[in-house]
């Protein structure tokens, strides 16, 4: 456990906590972004360059932006109006968190990963990754691609410009009509 890892982990966790507790939603998303970056750094420290950079590209470059867009489109990025100390929220949140953590730790402690030593990153890991993606895991990949395409088309349909309804309100024509009456 190097010093660098400790720093990364601390930053990641601190920003995750901030993302949960800050009241301004945009701040929360920005903190979440820092968490994503921290996770990417952990990947890089493990020698998984491809996954690490993909994490940055996808999560920082796209997912966080998506969240920000969604935020601005819906809530307007204003301060949360929730009561800060709503006990019901806090208790349910804590319970869910503990449950999630328990399940995760149970899975990790019983997995095979824990027994074997983490393998060193191979020099041709990228080629291996590509080969396995296009041979062994080609069906899941295709299914994911299809899903994303469908989502894209659906989004395009939703965003299609509606017919213009404003033109009939044009002031001059309106004034003229009322003037003629």
């Amino acid at each position: 456990m190097s010093l660098f890892f400790i720093i990364t982990a601390l930053i990641t966790m601190a920003s995750a906590i901030a993302a949960m507790t800050l009241r301004n939603l945009v701040h929360c998303v920005l903190c979440l972004t820092v968490t994503f970056a921290g996770i990417a750094l952990v990947f890089l420290q493990l020698g998984a360059e491809f996954i690490g950079f993909s994490q940055i590209l996808v999560y920082i470059g796209a997912v966080s932006i998506l969240m920000l867009f969604a935020l601005l489109m819906t809530r307007g990025g204003t301060e949360l109006t929730l009561k800060r100390w709503d006990p019901v929220h806090w208790i349910t949140g804590t319970l869910i968190g503990i449950a999630g953590f328990g399940v995760m730790s149970f899975a990790i402690f019983n997995s095979s990963l824990r027994q074997s030593k983490i393998p060193e990153a191979k020099a041709d890991s990228l080629h291996a990754l590509g080969n396995s993606l296009l041979s062994q895991y080609v069906l899941p990949l295709e299914v994911m691609a299809l899903l994303l395409t469908v989502a894209l088309i659906g989004a395009a349909l939703i965003a299609l410009p509606e017919k213009n309804v404003f033109r009939k309100n044009a002031s001059f024509s309106k004034n003229q009509e009322s003037g003629n009456k």
């Binding site: 867009f69 601005l72 489109m73 990025g77 204003t78 965003a159 033109r167 001059f172």
Partner: protein, 393 residues
């Protein structure tokens, strides 16, 4: 990870909605009010558009002007007939020569002053030169509004400069010429000046070719301006729109042909007409009009006769037209420019009224902008060709 195509910016402004008071929500989406101007970079002077937006689409547009109001008409009613002449320069400060002419024309009608033939020729020459420099700077500004970083504007100004130099050596001033007088012009043109003007006019079509090669067929310009800000001919006629904006809708109405004022009936020229009435048509109509103006200029410069440059009987001081009224109008570069005068026989006009083409062409701004995006509003405003000095007076 991909945003939807089309207009991802649609819903952006809603963020600000809570911060700034906005009118009530309609149909589930809220609208944003943006005040463009009076110091917005692209409103061509101190002009304001109160725009109501849904996404980026304009749902309401209110032109607000009057920031440059200087009481022109009232001042003219308290000064002598001659004293208003320099003030007309400042109406549409791009086209002082045609402003002068329109005013001189109405005073001549009022007082029944004859204009010598040479003076008429000089007037045609200066007016057409004015049309060239107005249109050339307008298309420069229009393309600048579309974001062309100054290059077309600089080329346009380079050419305009040559015409302004001609004006300066003729009248002494580049923009505020104050050149026309009742019954003629203030001073004579020299043979030398005519030669200079001829060389400028000869070189002009070449510049137009270059300019058109630069931008007219540019896909970006066409995409930006075609089918944008469409004006229907019926609405244009109803609103009293005149000039290139009217002709771009396909209505054949050019006062030089209709009235044949001055000596325009002697020259061979054609009136270009548009079919769509959109921004691109307004742009191209002006380019084509410049080519026709060059033809008029070539004829006028070649045929200019000798003679008086001003009616020797016209009085400069103590000018008192007989009681009566007169309306003189000309085809100014921006449209029909008219002056309506009532005289009660005193040295000052009893009533003095300007029909400013810029203001009247501006009345249809909202009709053209509704349903377009805010970026279109900028170029639609640019294509109407307003000068706030004339709108506000």
């Amino acid at each position: 990870m991909t945003p939807s195509p089309g207009r991802p910016t649609e819903a952006m402004p809603q963020f600000e909605m809570h911060a700034t008071g906005v009118e009530g929500a309609t149909e589930g989406t809220e609208r944003m009010e943006v005040s463009m101007g009076p110091h917005h970079p692209s409103t061509h002077g101190v002009f304001r558009m109160d725009v109501e937006l849904e996404g980026e689409t304009i749902t309401k547009l209110k032109p607000v002007f009057g920031y440059l109001h200087r009481n022109h008409e009232k001042i003219a009613e308290s000064t002598s007939y001659l004293g208003s002449m320099p003030y007309t320069d400042r109406l549409d400060y791009f086209n002082s020569m045609t402003n002068n002419w329109a005013y001189a024309l109405s005073v001549e009608k009022l007082a029944g002053i004859e204009v010598p033939e040479r003076a008429e020729y000089i007037r045609v020459i200066t007016a057409e030169l004015t049309r060239l420099q107005n249109h050339v700077s307008l298309i420069g500004f229009l393309v600048q509004d579309m974001g062309a970083l100054g290059t077309p504007l600089m080329y346009a100004f380079r050419e305009r400069e040559r015409i302004l130099d001609l004006f300066e050596s003729l009248s002494g001033a580049r923009m505020m010429c104050n050149y026309m007088r009742f019954g003629g012009c203030r001073c004579d043109v020299s043979a030398d000046w005519i030669k200079q003007a001829q060389s400028v006019v000869e070189a002009f079509p070449q510049f137009l070719d270059e300019f058109e090669a630069l931008i007219s067929e540019n896909e970006v310009l066409m995409a930006r301006s075609q089918h944008v800000g469409i004006l229907k001919p019926e609405l244009a006629i109803d609103a009293g729109v005149a000039g290139p904006v009217l002709r771009a809708t396909g209505v054949n109405y050019d006062l030089r042909k209709v009235d044949g004022y001055g000596i325009y009936d002697r020259f061979q020229f054609r009136v270009p007409l548009g079919d769509h009435g959109d921004v691109y048509d307004r742009y191209m109509i002006r380019v084509l009009e410049m080519r026709e103006s060059v033809k008029i200029l070539q004829q006028a410069l070649a045929e200019i006769p000798n003679g008086d440059y001003v009616n020797p009987k016209a009085k400069l001081r103590g000018f008192r037209p007989p009681p009566g009224e007169a309306y003189g109008r000309i085809e100014a570069p921006k449209g029909e420019l008219g002056f309506y005068l009532i005289s009660d026989g005193s040295p000052k006009p009893y009533r003095y009224r300007v029909r400013p083409p810029s203001l009247i062409n501006l009345t249809i701004l909202e009709d053209m902008c509704l349903g377009q995006t805010i970026a279109d509003a900028v170029i639609i405003l640019g294509s109407i060709d307003i000068v706030l000095g004339e709108v506000d007076r």
